[in-house]
């Protein structure tokens, strides 16, 4: 049938774009990852050095540090986002004017540029004239003069805060979508059978939300692994290297030190981490589906 060829024809333009803008550069960077290429010294790609770039990564403190930083960032930001999104979704599920208003307000953080979010939090946490820093100091005198972004742990906390502020609202909408797909009847039946609100949530609603929550968790993990903009505009990786995530570290290697071979190798390590997580996620989701149908 002619439909069959049309099916492929329609895919051609999009595939040309993906091929040219993703698959080709991907191959290019894979080749580069096995070469030595210091852009400050060489105009053209240097010699093949095998897996040297990869080996180098695992023995370098900067890389090890960035892996550690990234892990902390991803775990805290994913857990906080999920908890907040799920709780908010449960609240917002009901109807009401205030509910509708809040739902509309929640669109805004996602629409805001992450770079700008970084900038504005940097402003608000400035110890001398930042509105949050000063406000907290006024309410809790012990917090007066705390060097927020100049302290490694607090800088990380604020970085997580900006990320949660940016993503939790979006994820709330996804949770709301998931909640909408949980049939009301089962919930109502449980309530009539005498279950308390907590029991209804943990026994009836949450199990049916597992699939959705899994999707959200993985999406958030991927976004957190990619997170870059706020590091630049909020902390610049500092103080010291305390907020140097892997994405930011790769950026530095590539565009501050111009070590293209090494940066490509690091980029592929990040890709591999993301792929592993995605595969693990697809597996989880499939077994979840199987259990749901059984």
């Amino acid at each position: 049938m002619r439909d069959r060829s049309l099916a492929y024809v329609l895919l051609v333009p999009a595939f040309l774009i993906v091929l040219a803008t993703t698959l080709y550069p991907l191959a290019y960077s894979l080749v580069t990852a096995f070469r030595e290429w210091d852009l400050t010294k060489q105009r053209r790609p240097g010699e093949f050095v095998g897996v040297d770039n990869f080996v180098h990564a695992f023995s370098e403190p900067g890389f090890q540090n960035s892996i550690w930083i990234t892990t902390i960032f991803v775990i805290t930001s994913v857990i906080l986002t999920l908890l907040i999104a799920m709780s908010l979704a449960l609240l917002l599920r009901r109807e009401g004017r205030l509910h509708t208003f809040t739902r509309i307000i929640l669109i805004l953080p996602f629409a805001m540029s992450p770079a700008l979010i970084g900038v504005s939090y940097r402003f608000m946490f400035n110890p001398e004239f930042g509105v949050i820093a000063k406000g907290l100091g006024a309410v809790f005198p012990s917090l007066e003069g705390v060097p927020w972004l100049a302290s490694p742990d607090l800088a990380m906390a604020i970085l997580v805060l900006t990320d949660v502020w940016h993503w939790a609202p979006y994820m709330t909408f996804m949770c709301l979508g998931g909640l909408a797909s949980v049939p009301r009847e089962t919930e109502e039946a449980a309530r009539i059978d005498g279950a308390s609100s907590w029991r209804v949530f943990f026994g009836v609603v949450l199990p049916q939300m597992k699939g959705v929550l899994l999707v959200i968790a993985v999406l958030k993990t991927i976004f957190a692994l990619k997170m870059f903009d706020q590091v630049v505009t909020l902390t610049g990786g500092g103080p010291g290297t305390s907020t140097e995530t892997l994405a930011f570290f790769i950026f530095n290697v590539g565009f501050k030190w111009y070590d293209m071979g090494y940066a490509s190798a690091l980029a592929w390590i990040l890709t591999a981490i993301m792929m592993l997580i995605s595969i693990w996620y697809v597996r989880m989701l499939l077994s979840e589906r199987k259990m749901a149908t059984a």
Partner: protein
């Protein structure tokens, strides 16, 4: 009875608190944008608003107007290329059960898991060779990489939700597949396509990493422009805020205009 009341007020209190947490940073930025430099560093709400910050950022040496133009052109052209191509692909994925369909769809989706840094490295090298660094074309090309798979996925979600009945009826009424797409599918999917276009515009408009690496002076976009207000004299907060308002307002307007579809677009992914 009493517990119910407490709960009722508690729920509303939480919602008000959440709205405040969300709105406060945005409001503070808007306020600062209208403050004189000396007021910007005080926390006082008692100030006489001024437009001088906007005048400053649009004049030399900041020239925010150029950045607005760059951002607008890059985002619009990206949308104009990505959305039509993605719509066709999304239709094909949604309606035809051909060999290799699942593999191709997975391939496209999996590109979403590739970190942007991986893509920008080779592009930086290629554009350097081609002399395309610091051009809008370079930004458009790289943005397409991120946006296209995302838009395909999103529009497919919208098309999947349209029942096939009308299309089949049209085919029997005598329409060819292409005619069906033109007469039936496009009008019915229009809200979804519009929503996806605006998502796509927002992503490109706010994009930071590519612009930071690939532009220097001529093609600088708004988010990267923000960084330039960090000078030796310190951070010029009132100017940054004015620029922030310029980044934010168009996007907020778009997002709120399609608010209903917007939330549907956000949730579409979760249910499937």
């Amino acid at each position: 009875m009493n517990r119910k009341r407490i709960y009722w007020w508690g729920e509303r209190a939480v919602l008000v608190l959440v709205s405040c947490i969300v709105l406060f940073p945005i409001l503070w930025m808007f306020l600062t944008a209208f403050k004189r430099p000396k007021d910007a560093y005080s926390l006082s709400l008692d100030f006489s608003p001024t437009l001088s910050n906007f005048v400053t950022v649009f004049s030399d040496p900041w020239n925010l107007g150029d950045m607005v133009l760059n951002s607008a052109i890059v985002a619009s052209v990206t949308v104009l290329i990505a959305v039509p191509c993605a719509s066709l692909a999304a239709y094909s994925f949604s309606r035809f059960r051909v060999r290799g369909r699942k593999f191709l769809f997975f391939l496209i989706l999996s590109t979403q898991f590739i970190p942007a840094v991986v893509i920008v490295l080779p592009f930086f090298l290629m554009f350097r060779t081609l002399g395309l660094l610091d051009t809008r074309i370079a930004l458009i090309v790289v943005n397409l990489a991120i946006v296209t798979p995302f838009v395909i996925w999103m529009i497919k979600g919208f098309i999947d939700a349209i029942p096939t009945d009308s299309e089949e009826a049209a085919m029997i009424d005598g329409a060819s597949r292409l005619r069906v797409i033109k007469d039936i599918v496009l009008p019915m999917a229009a809200p979804g396509i519009l929503t996806s276009s605006i998502f796509c515009f927002i992503l490109t408009w706010n994009e930071f990493l590519f612009a930071l690496i690939l532009t220097r002076r001529d093609a600088v976009t708004l988010p990267v422009g923000l960084v330039s207000f960090r000078t030796e004299r310190g951070d010029l907060w009132e100017l940054m805020s004015a620029a922030g308002v310029m980044i934010t307002v168009p996007i907020f307007i778009m997002a709120l205009l399609i608010q209903k579809h917007f939330t549907r677009g956000m949730t579409a992914g979760a249910v499937k």
